[in-house]
């Protein structure tokens, strides 16, 4: 039992069939997250992080469609699972926190309504029990006087408060897996710290697996056990958090880490990866990063396979910078 990871994504492909062509938003992504494990999913804007999250929950809307791969949740493949089955899992065993806190709560329903319904959708408990649990969870994410604030409408909350409500909703039913899409971007540092602490505690105590999507490498560094770096819908590099952050192997990861301001870079010009993200509509067969990569050569024009240049590391690059990893 324990050797089955909570979530194993294998070769996931999610494409958007638009008028301009097929956008391969997620193109052969694999990773796994075990009980109590936290995985950071990073990558620049448009690299397919959110779409990966939606694919796990079966919430990709047309013109998008999961066209290949597996999403194994406790060993059960969710791709092709019935809507009924997904409804049972969503919000109960798998929860998601959306990226935009201003848009995720229904503007005409009170906070308590939106929380209580989440409990009642999955459990036969009294409304009073559901209300109490909602209130306690709000307190847990740091909403002051939750009893009173619960009766408010979303517009009476700030963006950061709304995000905390959305986080509380995800925590309500103590799910096995939480997909958190940049959940702390709208929060100030102290609240962010509190949320990160609560998230970590939850994972350690209840064995919840957590996928933390973010731009912020500093957050991932302090929180996650492992990290997956995405570039243009594909996985660039994957490994344990310390390995990848200390000794990145993929040129893109190296560039990404180089462009993070740190203590010792003060006064210096920040490194910037040259060039721009390619259009997902016209991705090359070979490496999507080759136009921007200082190591690229003819080999990069071929289809790149995932390799393991150093133990425990998955990299999609034919010029892994192994020396740097030593």
């Amino acid at each position: 039992m324990s050797d089955v990871p909570t979530l194993a994504v294998e070769n996931l492909e999610t494409h958007f069939f638009t008028k301009a062509g097929v956008a391969k938003a997620v193109d052969g992504v694999s990773f796994s997250v075990g009980r109590g494990e936290i995985m950071g999913l990073v990558g620049e804007s448009g690299s397919g992080k959110s779409v990966t999250g939606f694919s796990i929950l079966g919430l990709v809307d047309p013109p998008g469609r999961v066209v290949g791969g597996k999403v194994l949740f406790n060993g059960e493949d969710l791709i092709g699972a019935s809507e009924q089955r997904m409804q049972k899992l969503r919000g109960n065993k798998i929860a998601m926190i959306f990226q935009d806190p201003m848009m995720t709560l229904n503007p005409v329903l009170r906070i308590d309504t939106q929380m209580i319904e989440t409990v009642l959708a999955h459990e036969k408990v009294s409304k009073e029990t559901a209300r109490q649990r909602s209130r306690d969870t709000l307190a847990q994410v740091g909403i002051p006087s939750p009893e009173e604030r619960m009766r408010a409408y979303p517009h009476q909350f700030s963006g950061g408060m709304r995000q905390r409500v959305a986080i509380a909703i995800a925590l309500l039913n103590k799910p096995d897996l939480i997909v958190a899409d940049e959940p702390t971007t709208a929060l100030d540092v102290t609240i962010q710290g509190q949320i990160l602490y609560e998230a970590q505690k939850l994972c350690r105590e209840t064995g919840t697996a957590l996928i933390w999507i973010t731009h912020d490498l500093a957050v991932v560094a302090g929180l996650a056990d492992k990290i997956s770096v995405m570039y243009a819908g594909r996985l660039a590099e994957q490994g344990t958090i310390d390995d990848v952050l200390d000794h990145p192997v993929h040129p893109y990861t190296i560039g990404l880490l180089g462009s993070v301001p740190g203590h010792n870079t003060r006064g210096q010009r920040l490194y910037q990866i040259p060039g721009m993200t390619p259009s997902l509509l016209s991705l090359p067969d070979g490496c999507a990063f080759k136009e921007r990569c200082e190591f690229s050569d003819a080999a990069c024009a071929l289809r790149q396979e995932i390799t393991e240049p150093v133990p425990g590391r998955a990299v999609r690059c034919c010029h892994p910078q192994i020396e740097a990893a030593r």
Partner: protein, 325 residues
């Protein structure tokens, strides 16, 4: 809240006063009732006495002044034809018209919202396309023609329902209503349907547009991510949002429903205000015309106020203080 309502009431009084001026002057320009009313064989002296009795010999501003003074006392003049207070004539007919309009409105909502939401959820389906095409007919076919066709098909050819009048009525709070008796309901059905067709099409379009906008919102996706049932998402999360524009527009259109019942009432010989005003216009029965228009203005003003209050109840983001008066 109360400050808002008081301010709105004061504005309403101003609106009603301005309308009274326009109506009074307008009606005086339209035609001379004397030719219609006076016996053609009457001599000049008789005609002049008649004019004097009605107060038509005095200058317009003086006539208006008397009209206003009397109006404040609740007297809008006597009908030239029936020689009864015009206001009383109209007020007697109000229940019939309101009953017709309210039933028409309910029909529009009960039929229109499910169809519109369905068409919004499945915009490419065959059924949705049929619904939308039919709603265009509802918009474009003239009410009087549809009414006559209904009478021909359902009353004359099939004999399913009566074609004119209110049928039996029963009294509620001392007012006679048709919907309380089976016979009355049968009389009510066709005219109400006729009157509601246009609004039904409007509701279908509003509900469809609202649904199409709302289903793509993040909060609907988030509701799905919470594992809520399809029913809960549609009937609570979606419905509550689309009801805001539907109720607002329909509320404002209710005045139009009353005003447009003129056509339906004429076609179905429904004894409401509309039928009365048509007769009054034909006879240049000025006091009745003026009284009718004034009552319509008051109805519109009241409806606007009610809609604003409803709107603020439905949409928690709006408070009455924020609405401009």
């Amino acid at each position: 809240m109360s400050v808002f309502i008081i301010r709105r009431l004061m504005q309403s009084v101003l609106v009603v006063w301005i309308m009274s001026l326009l109506v009074f002057v307008g009606v005086n320009i339209v035609g001379d009732p004397v030719d219609m009313l006076v016996n053609p064989e009457a001599d000049q002296a008789e005609i002049e006495r008649f004019i004097k009795d009605l107060g038509l010999d005095r200058p317009l501003h003086e006539q208006y002044w008397y009209f206003l003074l009397n109006a404040l006392k609740g007297d809008l003049g006597n009908s030239f034809i029936f020689n009864q207070p015009a206001l009383k004539l109209i007020v007697q007919r109000i229940p019939a018209t309101f009953e017709l309009a309210i039933v028409a409105l309910l029909m529009a909502i009960i039929v229109g919202i499910p169809l519109g939401v369905y068409a919004g959820l499945k915009p490419d389906g065959k059924i949705s396309k049929t619904i939308m095409a039919t709603s265009i007919l509802g918009f474009s076919l003239p009410t009087f023609w549809v009414g006559m066709m209904m009478i021909m098909v359902f009353a004359v050819m099939l004999g399913w329902s009566p074609s004119y009048g209110r049928g039996e009525t029963a009294s509620l709070f001392g007012i006679e209503f048709s919907f309380l008796t089976w016979n009355g309901l049968r009389h009510l059905f066709l005219p109400a349907l006729n009157l509601s067709l246009f609004k039904m099409s409007l509701v279908i379009r509003l509900a469809r547009a609202g649904t199409r906008e709302v289903v793509h919102q993040d909060y609907i996706k988030f509701a799905r991510a919470k594992g809520l049932s399809q029913n809960r998402i549609i009937f609570v999360h979606l419905m509550k949002n689309i009801m805001i524009p539907v109720v607002t527009v329909l509320g404002l259109e209710f005045g139009g429903l009353i005003a447009f019942s003129v056509v339906t009432e004429t076609v179905f010989s429904w004894p409401g205000m509309g039928k009365l005003i048509i007769d009054a216009l034909n006879n240049l029965d000025r006091p009745v015309v003026v009284a009718y228009l004034m009552i319509i203005v008051v109805i519109f003003v009241v409806i606007n106020l009610v809609v604003d209050v409803l709107y603020s109840i439905l949409d928690p983001r709006v408070r009455l203080q924020d609405l401009k008066g």
